[in-house]
Symmetry: C2
Subunit: 112 residues, 2 copies
């Protein structure tokens, strides 16, 4: 990149986080508030639990999602957006508006 090296680097990384299969959707599902694993899995029914679990771990490593453990009986575990994750709301909303207007619906499969 010439004139805008660091802008390009950060943008590219941000775009790849959201573009990775299911990651953007998981963030979208967490925007309204924390969810349990089973609730996410029920929404993302074409995706295996293993893949959802991997994506949540990646989002935790990126500092976008946090895993909250409540020491109740039985233990309650919720996934919530961090401040960094919640700051993605304008991106997700703009992408959702664009997709609804411009992208033809194609059936989802789990893919890779």
């Amino acid at each position: 990149m010439r004139y805008s090296t660091h802008i390009c680097e950060r943008f590219q990384h941000g775009a790849e986080i959201l573009g990775k299969r299911w990651t953007g959707l998981i963030v979208m599902l967490l925007l309204p508030g924390p969810r349990r694993f089973g609730e996410l899995a029920a929404e993302l029914e074409v995706v295996s639990d293993r893949v959802i679990s991997e994506r949540l771990k990646e989002l935790e490593r990126e500092g976008i999602v946090e895993r909250r453990v409540y020491p109740e009986t039985p233990v309650r575990i919720e996934y919530a957006l961090t401040e960094k994750g919640a700051a993605l709301a304008p991106v997700i909303n703009a992408l959702q508006a664009w997709s609804e207007r411009w992208v033809d619906a194609v059936p989802l499969t789990e893919g890779k």
Copy 2:
């Protein structure tokens, strides 16, 4: 997907278009106006011409970029955003703002 099947499908597809390595950046570079191949290549200097060319073809297939050929001597070829492509501006701008605020700079390499 349960309650929001077609929203999820379209969103996922839209996120993957932008998230594919270099695609979002190419759209960002075209937002101010049409560019020639050589101008794009100069900005994306870590990316090979072959990869830039592939990405431009994919964006053409998605209806996001159009290739304009002006029959001058020598022939002038420009890449421009279509209406669908220009409609990505709010997404790109929101993602750029988020990335600048929240993503640490990491050096870019061509990658896959």
